[in-house]
C-alpha cells in the first residue's frame, strides 16, 4: 500500500501528512487534520455533504484522493468562520449569518457542504435568481428542511453582499 507525503494549504495554513493513496480528501481532512466539519453523507459523490473548495472550485472531497490535493489550497467550513463563536458580538461570515437569520437548517448534517457550495456559487454568480440558486444547490441533499429556508438564506446573503 502506497503512502504519499503531501503538503497543502488548508484554511490558510500549511498542513502536511502521509496518507495512503486510497484515502479520500474527505477522510484526510476529517481524520488526519481533525477538521470534522466536512461530513460524509454517501461517499459516492451524490449528496454533496462533503463539499469543500479546492483551488477556488467547489468539489466533492469524497471523490478526490488526498494525494491529489498536494500543493492545492483547500477551504473547508471551518475556514469560513470569521471567529467561530457566532455568539452575540461574535462574527459569522455574511452567508452563515444570513442562514442563521433565515432558520436555514435543522439537523445540520448537510450544512457544511451546502454552505460551501452556496459560497462558491454566490462568489461566481452574485446576481443569481432563485431558480439558478436551486439548480446550483440541487446536488446537495437535505432531508430535513425541504430547501426553502436554505434558499432564503442564500438570497438574503446575496442581498447583503450587495449592500441592499
Amino acid at each position: 500500500m502506497t503512502e504519499v507525503d503531501i503538503t497543502l494549504t488548508v484554511n490558510g495554513a500549511t498542513r502536511t501528512g502521509s496518507p495512503e493513496a486510497r484515502k479520500t480528501l474527505a477522510d484526510f481532512l476529517r481524520d488526519d487534520l481533525s477538521l470534522t466539519g466536512t461530513h460524509l453523507g454517501c461517499e459516492h459523490g451524490v449528496c454533496g455533504a462533503c463539499t469543500v473548495i479546492v483551488d477556488g472550485r467547489a468539489v466533492r472531497s469524497c471523490l478526490m484522493l488526498a494525494v491529489q490535493a498536494a500543493g492545492s489550497e483547500v477551504t473547508t467550513i471551518e475556514g469560513l468562520a470569521v471567529n467561530g463563536a457566532g455568539e452575540e458580538g461574535g462574527e459569522l461570515g455574511t452567508l452563515q449569518q444570513a442562514m442563521w437569520d433565515s432558520h436555514s437548517f435543522q439537523c445540520g448534517f448537510c450544512t457544511p457542504g451546502m454552505v460551501m457550495q452556496a459560497a462558491a456559487f454566490l462568489s461566481d454568480h452574485p446576481d443569481a435568481d432563485e431558480q439558478q440558486i436551486r439548480e446550483a444547490l440541487s446536488g446537495n441533499i437535505c432531508r430535513c428542511t425541504g430547501y426553502q429556508s436554505i434558499i432564503d438564506g442564500v438570497l438574503l446573503a446575496a442581498e447583503r453582499y450587495h449592500g441592499r
Binding site: M1, T2, V4, E20, A21, R22, K23, T24, D27, C42, E43, H44, G45, G48, T51, V54, R57, A58, V59, R60, C62, L63, M64, L65, V67, Q68, Q117, A120, F121, E135, A136, S138, G139
Partner: protein, 296 residues
C-alpha cells in the same frame, strides 16, 4: 464505503503514463477527474492493482482549433470546456451538453477525456461524440492512432482503448454554416444521468436538411446513432410531420433496456418525444443561424 488497497503512480508526461500502462496493462486504472472511477472504487466494484493519476500531465490539457477541428486535451476539465468560447462557437452541441453533466462540483474535477474513456452510455458526452463523429487519439507503446467515434464505443463502459494505451485528446469537427443543435435529456432529477438523452445536430442549406445527426444516450450499452431517422431526414424540408416520422423511425429502431428507472417501452416513448423536441429546437437554431447569415 472505503476504497480498497491500491498502489499509486503520478506520471508527469504522457510517455511515462504509457510506460506504466504497458507494464501493468489492465491491472491499472487511469485516474483522471475521478468522478466516475472513485465511486466504483468506493463501492469496491473495481479493484485495480494500480492507479495511474494523470492529473499532473500538463500536456493533456487545452483547447485548440486547427483546420476545422477543435482539439480538446483529455484532461481538460468539464468546467473549463463549459467556459470555453472556442467550444461555444465551434462545437455548439458540446457546449449544449456540458452544463447537463451532473452538478458544478462534478464538473470542477471531471474531464472531457475521462468521461469519454469511461463510456457510460447514459452520459452526455458519449452521445455528443457519436453524433458528431468525433475522433479519439490514443497513444500506446507503438505510437499514436486515431479512432473514429463509431469504433470507439464497444460496449457498456468499454472502449476500443487497449490496456496499454492512453487517451490523449478528442477532436470534434467544427460546426458548418447553417447548423443548429439541441441536447435533450429526460432525467429523474436535475443533474442525474439521462434515462433517455438525445444529441441533435441539423444543417440547413436553402431551407433543406443537408445533414442530420441524432445520437441517443441511455437506450443501449453504447451511445446509439439513429441512422434510420437520419436517412429519412436528409434532403427534406423541416416540418412537424417529418419530425414525427423521424421520431417513430428512431424509436422503432431501438431495443432499449428496462431498469429501475424506466421500462424498455417507456424509453422508446421518451426517445420519440425527444426526437420531436430535439429536431424542433435544432431546426429553429439552424434557421436563426441561416437567417443571420443571410442578413449579412
Amino acid at each position: 464505503m472505503k476504497l480498497p488497497p491500491v498502489d499509486y503512480e503520478a506520471p508527469r508526461t504522457v510517455s511515462e503514463a504509457v510506460d506504466l500502462l504497458a507494464e501493468h496493462q489492465d491491472e491499472a486504472s487511469v485516474l483522471a477527474g475521478g468522478q466516475s472511477l472513485i465511486p466504483l472504487l468506493a463501492l469496491r466494484l473495481a479493484q485495480p492493482a494500480l492507479l495511474i493519476d494523470i492529473n499532473g500531465v500538463q500536456e493533456l490539457s487545452g483547447v485548440s482549433v486547427t483546420g476545422g477541428w477543435v482539439t480538446i486535451g483529455a484532461m481538460t476539465r468539464e468546467y473549463v470546456a463549459e467556459e470555453s468560447g472556442t467550444i461555444a462557437g465551434a462545437v455548439p452541441l458540446l457546449a449544449a451538453a456540458l452544463p447537463l453533466i451532473g452538478h458544478e462540483a462534478i464538473r470542477s474535477r471531471g474531464t472531457v477525456g475521462g468521461s469519454l474513456a469511461h463510456a457510460d452510455p447514459a452520459a452526455e458526452l458519449p452521445a455528443v461524440a457519436r453524433a458528431l463523429d468525433a475522433e479519439f487519439v490514443v497513444r500506446g507503446p507503438s505510437g499514436e492512432r486515431v479512432v473514429p467515434a463509431a469504433e470507439w464505443f464497444e460496449g457498456y463502459l468499454t472502449t476500443s482503448r487497449q490496456p496499454d494505451e492512453l487517451l490523449t485528446e478528442v477532436r470534434f469537427p467544427a460546426a458548418g454554416p447553417g447548423t443548429g443543435v439541441s441536447f435533450q435529456e429526460i432525467a429523474r432529477r436535475h443533474g442525474d444521468f439521462a434515462m433517455v438523452g438525445l444529441a441533435t445536430s441539423v444543417t440547413l442549406s436553402d431551407g433543406v436538411i443537408s445533414d442530420a445527426r441524432l445520437a441517443f444516450a441511455g437506450v443501449s450499452d453504447v451511445p446509439a446513432r439513429a441512422t434510420g431517422a437520419e436517412e429519412l431526414l436528409a434532403g427534406e424540408r423541416p416540418s412537424a410531420e417529418l419530425f414525427d416520422q423521424a421520431a417513430r423511425r428512431a424509436a422503432g429502431d431501438l431495443d432499449p433496456p428496462s431498469d429501475l428507472h424506466g421500462s424498455a417501452e417507456y424509453r422508446k416513448k421518451v426517445a420519440a418525444a425527444l426526437v420531436r423536441r430535439g429536431l424542433r429546437e435544432a431546426v429553429d437554431n439552424a434557421q436563426a443561424v441561416d437567417n443571420a447569415q443571410e442578413g449579412q
